[in-house]
Assembly symmetry: D2
């Protein structure tokens, strides 16, 4: 799932990747950590909220080239254990003014 | 703009409201503060990132009844000075398990 | 290390637990996740920022009884792999007004 | 109030500025916005939690030269309407490894 206000192919964007996932799996916990570590230049902060004993909400606040952000989002949302995921992007270029 | 994985009318949801807005307007700054204060029972946290001298990203992490969340989101996104806004919701009920 | 504006033994507080830690250890990653999951009623949100390939900043925004918050903080700061840790608390009671 | 693990005069640090403040004052709301906008290169994200109808918690996650961070913190904590404030800093240099 992807939602976007961007038009061009690879402009600078800012946005959020919202994930609902089951952190009981050690594998998912590690894969989320590794992917965020590798992409740390595009991730401003990640906010984590534990919803219940099984599930948590992770919100990645992202900034970077749209293609890099999309690629990272696709990998995250496709991970086993991620129940819901969604990318929101907005261009940060001249059209903002 | 609205994106949702929810099916029912008024179930419990968790999600994010992502806004790009111009905080130079005193009016917008105050209206954002007032609306968030009034709806604080549905807002877990708000994360703010200043993008440049004019614009900022505000990400509201929300939890509550879907109709209340939608109504709050509509008001926020419709405010003068909000350039982009998007709501992402996920049900938190039994279907998560 | 602990910093506090509270006077009484077990009043309601709000505050932050700031940790700098090395997330390369699978053990630490899991222990942090488990302790946060068990104490989720006292943790509003956790914000994570990856500092470099090895280290990350975790900021837990906490609310609850001061003794419970202190006990959680002691456990977190004492974990192997946590390089720095600090608790900041403020009472939320009548004295705020 | 200041808490720090840093030793040198002006090294790179990461940390948090935790504020409890009364956002009913329009003046404070605007001064907080202005100071954060001017120092946005040192502020990774600001997290806001409304505590009750009068008070909110603001947590600024900061990174930069220690003197700049301290100066910003002093200005924030000294603002009229800020009831409690505290700076936590950790060096991000070689000693972390």
């Amino acid at each position: 799932v992807e939602s976007s206000w961007t038009k061009n192919n690879n402009e600078d964007v800012v946005g959020t990747i919202t994930l609902v996932c089951n952190l009981e799996s050690k594998e998912l916990t590690e894969r989320l950590r590794d992917l965020q570590r590798e992409n740390r230049s595009s991730i401003i902060s990640t906010v984590l909220v534990h919803l219940d004993h099984h599930n948590c909400l992770q919100v990645l606040i992202v900034r970077g080239e749209s293609q890099r952000v999309k690629s990272m989002s696709d990998k995250l949302i496709g991970m086993k254990g991620v129940k819901h995921g969604q990318l929101t992007m907005s261009a940060t270029g001249a059209e903002l003014y």
